[in-house]
């Protein structure tokens, strides 16, 4: 099975700032990959490179194609929903369906209409008359109706209320995702979707800080919670990050066994959100 995305040494400079600095990772089919990083880490730039929206140095193959020169071919099998609704505001819902049906060989209009019939969106409405949540629903309806292999989502639920967010991800999982489809997702609301991910890529300062399958995290990372008095001993095992909560200390270790750590206190696998904070804040610490 060849990789859906194969990035090697991805580098991109915006004048003085380096947005991507030798980013290397690969994504395989049937995965839901979380691309997670602080603001300005290079997430959106990486997504734009994958979608053929920006130039870059390095090698990048998406579904075996070069996004720089073969974007139009690539987009037959790739769908994209961006952080803010990018559907043109002047467009009517029916025109959006007409347009995608007119240019996309893999669009099944009946699926989109069926999905829209379950929402409050009317065919004659213009996009500018819809609420933010409805615009995202409309975009989702278009994407669900396209038989694509890779779906790229850049903060798709930003600014939506909890009901829309929950609906969005439920629909993705129930009506879209299968073993041959891949979803690449960036979001700030990591806690909300972390049980969706099969893989995570942490990106910081334009570099990959972590790239791992979720099932491997438990054998690689440990979170140890212990009383502050015992912290000095545990610290000798070199946690890469620690923080104090209510007089207890949480320490994060990489590559330590349960046997080494178990004696100090309570041991568990960190959540993705905790691990992300630890990785981002702990970089450079002993």
């Amino acid at each position: 099975m060849t990789a859906v995305i194969e990035a090697r040494g991805l580098t991109k400079n915006y004048r003085a700032t380096r947005a991507l600095d030798g980013v290397t990772f690969s994504v395989e089919a049937g995965r839901i990959v979380g691309l997670i990083g602080p603001n300005g880490a290079g997430k959106t730039t990486a997504l734009k490179a994958i979608l053929g929206l920006t130039s870059f140095d390095g090698t990048l193959r998406v579904l075996g194609l070069d996004p720089r020169t073969e974007r139009d071919q690539l987009m037959r099998e790739v769908c994209f929903i961006a952080d803010v609704a990018v559907l043109p505001r002047w467009m009517r819902v029916s025109q959006a369906l007409d347009f995608v049906a007119g240019v996309h060989p893999r669009f099944d209009r009946a699926i989109a209409e069926n999905f829209l019939s379950k929402t409050d969106i009317r065919m004659t409405s213009r996009v500018r008359e819809l609420s933010k949540g409805m615009v995202t629903q409309l975009h989702l309806a278009l994407v669900l109706a396209i038989d694509a292999r890779l779906l790229v989502l850049d903060e798709p639920t930003l600014g939506l209320d909890l009901l829309y967010r929950r609906n969005f991800y439920d629909t993705l999982l129930n009506d879209y995702f299968d073993k041959e489809r891949t979803i690449l997702l960036t979001t700030h609301q990591v806690e909300e979707v972390e049980n969706l991910f099969t893989d995570v890529i942490f990106i910081n300062h334009g570099q990959v800080a972590l790239c791992a399958a979720v099932e491997d995290l438990s054998s690689r990372y440990q979170q140890l919670t212990l009383a502050a008095e015992q912290a000095a001993h545990a610290r000798e095992l070199q946690p890469f990050y620690e923080r104090e909560i209510f007089g207890r200390v949480a320490m994060y270790f990489e590559g330590r066994s349960a046997a080494e750590l178990g004696a100090f206190g309570e041991l568990r696998t960190p959540t993705i959100a905790d691990l992300f904070v630890a990785k981002m804040q702990g970089t450079g610490r002993p």
């Binding site: 049937g30 995965r31 839901i32 734009k48 979608l51 053929g52 929206l53 920006t54 130039s55 720089r68 974007r71 139009d72 071919q73 690539l74 987009m75 037959r76 790739v78 769908c79 994209f80 961006a82 803010v84 990018v86 559907l87 043109p88 505001r89 002047w90 467009m91 009517r92 025109q95 007409d98 347009f99 995608v100 007119g102 240019v103 996309h104 060989p105 893999r106 038989d147 999982l173 995702f177 299968d178 073993k179 041959e180 972390e194 049980n195 969706l196 991910f197 099969t198 979720v214 099932e215 995290l217 438990s218 696998t269 993705i272």
Partner: protein
């Protein structure tokens, strides 16, 4: 241990029947429709003008009873006037569309970045080349020849209303319908539209390039070089070559066609029918003009440049 919902994802069989691609013709048709959805002024503005012309026909008064009025007792004069009215009626439509069309070309590749919809357009399997071509097609073919057809219809409506008023006796019979001259005038207008499109094509290409290129103020960037350039040349060298060049690219085609040799309207009113232009104008000379073909080559180059620029343009 983290569990992932994705592990229980179904193993759906993929539809293999889906075609690999749409035909370029079908995509192009969809793209052209899209332009007319978004830029409604392209057809609304000419329609409004055509409606105003019809209104003029309904309520307008004819003030032919001037001192130097043409001798309308002669049938040939009435036919000549008929063809001239046919020509003059089309002018407001063409003038409106020159403005609306220019703004359209200057706006189309800029607006999609400003409202970020470029991210949506680019998420679909449509090449940058086809997208830019669709906009050029709208600006140079769909709109000009659409206006030609609209002018034809508007004139027929105008003439029908006028005919009804003459029959009712509320207007004197100043125009005489001639199917032969009607057809010849339409032929002149179709040829004029055709040569205008070919001659002004590089301007359309230039507007597209500016539209794809600039990050703000496209109107300023589009016009500034043509204002500053001649001024700087005049200040620096005291010459006016650039001004001459601009003038030539704007008016040159009419000189090449030999519009100056026309003798349609004289001081005393209509002289000859518009159709006489078919014999007077040098269409063959215009079609073989090297400057016309150089302009078309420049159009191709400018359009290609706009396409290349759009390739790496996102919403920034």
């Amino acid at each position: 241990m983290n569990t992932t919902l994705a592990d229980s994802a179904p193993d759906r069989p993929r539809s293999v029947a889906a075609p690999a691609a749409k035909r370029p013709g079908e995509i192009l048709l969809t793209l052209v429709r899209r332009e007319l959805w978004e830029h409604r002024a392209l057809w609304l503005a000419p329609l409004v003008v055509a409606a105003l012309l019809a209104l003029v026909a309904i309520i307008g008064r004819v003030h032919i009873e001037m001192d130097d009025a043409p001798d309308l007792s002669s049938e040939s004069q009435r036919v000549a006037l008929f063809s001239i009215v046919q020509w003059v009626l089309a002018m407001p439509l063409y003038i409106v569309i020159i403005f609306v069309g220019s703004f359209y070309l200057l706006d189309c590749l800029y607006a999609e970045r400003k409202d970020r919809s470029i991210l949506f357009w680019k998420s679909l399997p449509v090449s940058d080349g086809l997208t830019v071509c669709s906009k050029l097609l709208v600006g140079l073919v769909v709109v000009p020849f659409g206006v030609f057809a609209l002018a034809l219809l508007a004139h027929l409506v105008f003439t029908a209303i006028l005919g009804a008023r003459v029959a009712l006796g509320s207007l004197p019979p100043v125009l005489t319908w001639s199917s032969y001259e009607w057809l010849r005038t339409e032929a002149v207008m179709l040829l004029a539209t055709f040569f205008a499109v070919l001659w002004y094509a590089p301007i359309a290409g230039y507007l597209l390039l500016v539209s794809a290129w600039v990050r703000r103020a496209p109107i300023l960037w589009a016009t500034l070089p043509f204002v500053l350039g001649p001024v700087l040349e005049w200040v620096a060298f005291g010459t006016r070559y650039l001004l001459g060049f601009i003038d030539y690219r704007v008016n040159g085609i009419w000189g090449i066609l030999g519009v100056g040799h026309l003798d349609i309207v004289s001081k005393h009113g209509p002289h000859h029918t518009v159709g006489t232009a078919l014999a007077v104008l040098d269409f063959r000379g215009a079609l073989t003009s090297i400057d016309l073909w150089l302009g078309l080559a420049a159009t191709a180059a400018l359009t290609y440049a706009a396409t290349r620029i759009r390739r790496y343009r996102d919403d920034t």
